[in-house]
Assembly symmetry: C2
């Protein structure tokens, strides 16, 4: 890679989040936005490695829960696409169309899949026969393409990398149980593994996936004071089963429509949210498991001691390399200080420094990326010390952000407080008349204040508010309101 002066990030995350994010992407070499098709970017090796690990973790969890992997064509014939009316209306403006192969015009246009419902469900109608085939749980790891307006690396792009799980059940109740499973999966992956605090909502009726009965989705909050939608799961009910003929024969030999759910964790977007939420003014911070390098060893050169320092670095590498992804930075063109900055920018969790003093004192200097403090550890304690940092790293990171997230939720019954919360980059929690279509006019009042009604929680929260924060009618729901991307 071309040598660049590594000056660190010049923007401050708290002051100008958007500029900070762009600098992070460039200086940590995560994406290159110079690709010559607008809205399409290259993911660089450091990002690609982490994204692969995220896929691995998500796929393992989905498989544990009974989903089987499938691979589907990326193209969908126009006739399929038109079978579900709301769906086609929702997605049509964004679809990329293939019209030619070589010089030949195709008989039928092909959509580059913006999502796979209309590709999959015709096959489901062939694959599912009997109640014994249910629940039928499948997932795809793939890209989708949508001609989005504004784009931003990882967070919103015209091609993004996701997983979509599409499940069929015998009853609406089973389908709803899947929504709850998806919610648990989202909390487990995003919070435990990726250290991103989220809330999980049932979205209002006016913010539902085209063709769904209900949409449920996670929101995370970035430093800009805006929430970003992370995995969503859609209760499709029989809306797609009807046009696509997804049926099964029940125990009594009767043909019935299947109840469908679909869940779409957008891995590249979660990656974007993760680096945005966890990073700081020194650069990336990554959960321990997800960093492409977990321990970096930096030799501090000293005349006459080069051989001994080299050997010690190699010994320490040997000590850890079977357990952690360990690297010694032998680059001759950089000073130790430049190397510190470089690996901080890359978010490597543990740095070990070996200099002449450390050799003499039989110790090493250890720095955790989480707090940046340098600790001197005797060689005999080194392994234990590093294992301790490694073991607690992600949990600490998670705790830090969970605490911050919780502190940014403002419970209030007053519209003025909602407005203040939004302006302060917070999430307001308040009473609302309805998240069905009859609540839409109150939501429009909120929208004029710059906020969006994100929805209500689907577990563990009873409404305690008496009145709708806008119209003053009895509050049926406790909702959360935030600015959003």
């Amino acid at each position: 890679m071309a040598k660049k002066k590594e000056l660190g990030i010049q923007s401050k995350k708290e002051k100008d989040f958007s500029k900070w994010y762009t600098e992070l992407i460039n200086k940590a070499e995560l994406a290159d936005t110079r690709y010559n098709v607008k809205g399409f970017v290259c993911y660089m090796p450091w990002a690609t490695r982490t994204i692969k690990k995220m896929y691995g973790k998500y796929e393992a969890e989905l498989e544990k829960l009974g989903h089987e992997p499938l691979t589907m064509p990326s193209v969908i014939p126009e006739r399929n696409f038109k079978l579900e009316a709301e769906h086609v209306e929702g997605f049509s403006p964004e679809v990329f169309w293939i019209t030619h192969a070589g010089k030949k015009k195709l008989d039928e246009r092909l959509a580059l899949r913006p999502t796979s419902e209309t590709a999959l469900y015709q096959m489901y109608s062939l694959w599912i026969r009997s109640y014994k085939d249910l629940p039928f749980k499948r997932y795809l790891s793939c890209q989708v393409w949508r001609n989005e307006g504004t784009t931003r690396p990882f967070l919103r792009a015209r091609e993004f990398h996701w997983i979509e799980a599409h499940n069929v059940f015998a009853t609406m109740k089973d389908a709803m149980a899947q929504v709850h499973e998806d919610m648990r999966t989202t909390h487990k992956l995003l919070e435990e593994e990726f250290a991103i605090p989220i809330m999980f909502f049932q979205r209002p009726a006016w913010d539902t996936f085209p063709g769904a009965v209900h949409t449920y989705a996670a929101d995370a909050l970035t430093e800009s004071g805006k929430v970003i939608q992370l995995p969503s799961t859609h209760l499709l009910g029989t809306n797609f089963s009807k046009p696509f003929n997804v049926t099964f024969t029940d125990k009594n030999g009767k043909k019935r429509l299947g109840f469908i759910t679909c869940y779409g964790p957008a891995i590249s977007r979660i990656y974007g949210a993760m680096i945005a939420i966890l990073g700081d003014d020194q650069g990336l911070i990554l959960p321990f498991d997800l960093s492409p390098v977990q321990i970096v060893i930096i030799p501090i050169p000293f005349k006459g001691k080069e051989q001994k320092i080299r050997k010690e670095c190699e010994n320490i590498k040997k000590l850890f390399e079977n357990k952690y992804i360990t690297k010694v930075d032998w680059n001759d063109d950089k000073t130790p200080g430049e190397k510190f900055n470089h690996w901080e920018m890359k978010g490597v969790p543990i740095r070990i420094e070996i200099g002449p003093k450390d050799l003499a004192k039989k110790q090493a200097a250890i720095v955790s990326r989480l707090d940046g403090k340098r600790e001197f550890v005797k060689k005999t304690k080194l392994e234990e010390h590093v294992n301790n940092i490694a073991k607690n790293y992600t949990a600490k990171l998670k705790k830090r952000h969970a605490r911050r997230f919780a502190s940014l939720v403002k419970k209030t019954g007053a519209l003025k407080d909602v407005k203040d919360a939004l302006n302060a980059g917070r999430i307001a929690c308040t009473g609302f008349c309805s998240i069905n279509l009859d609540g839409m006019s109150c939501a429009e009042t909120i929208e004029k204040m710059g906020g969006l009604v994100r929805g209500k929680k689907i577990s563990g929260e009873k409404n305690k508010f008496k009145k709708c924060v806008v119209c003053g009618k009895p509050a049926k729901e406790t909702v959360y309101i935030a600015k959003a991307y």
Copy 2:
């Protein structure tokens, strides 16, 4: 999945390879060809799981050899695509073109990548600056799209899944060393891991990748008597560096063109070749590591002993499940015999049967998919026995096919023998005047006989033939001739 009568494969592999392959794909539920866009198929879970494992093995090897993973956009603007004249000529007839987004016509057509040279190298010209950046080794795991004429699941499709590695070097010599590394990688993965015997050739000048100096590729032989091209690597030299401006500054500060190689293991195609070559009339045979299930346990029900048999099956599962992917088939709708057939069809390497007699004798019946023989093994020896089968399974499979492959090469100096060898589904090895363009007319004579000159070996073989098998002029090369897909 809908219940089907599992009758096994009706066609014989030796008699009608093509029909046998189609039946295998359907009955082992590997792909569904009923997707409603011609030439595009669904990969079913059993195939997807193995293909993922194959990706994992290939990626690990490439990374060990210094390649870093990248993720690139799937679309290439038309202007890039036109920069290398031979390349555009070679690929244009097969390219799928995106012309619209929503209702809007795009300002410039976008090619759905048929291969990534013209997407990548413009970025390489930004990423590579100095000789210190070289060698520059990157790979993508992705799909490509080509409007192929005849298609066949996995082996040739309009969308296929591959890896492409694109490397840049300071000299032609370094680039050529990469070709040899790619050859070793191909032998290691295809032969050691996937048990597919191959030969690796430099292709004749008339059979070179559009835009390449030379093309090198592996061939495997199927039961149809035709070879199938497996991974190929292309020495691009500076043919793409010039139009895409891939340059570096050398030690003396002088700007130089980079020398490029690209290597393209098509994982989905290798999967097709693997199941085609290794399978038999009972169904799939898979290398041990690649099977989605490695051990299947079948309870043989017996009235009054159900509880004991169930418990024993569960105990045996526990014995193996931490080391191997182990499954007990509890399906009540099938007889043990139907289950045996089912898992043979799926290619599960080891079957363990537990019935009342086995309980009484403290033994289990073990069947290896490789030979189908049933062995009765005492419980105390069970673990050792299974470990032994597992350890030697892939090597045995490899040996079986390597022996067969070697026996099918016919060395000859006579044109009549070449013809006979081709008609007998063999590969002929013979003398040839030239694999440069001056040898093309002799190659055309071979083509009229139904054969293709596949090329010469690039390591370990000196030419011992005196005359060209066609024109009788002095033979410069020892070449291999075969029928081909």
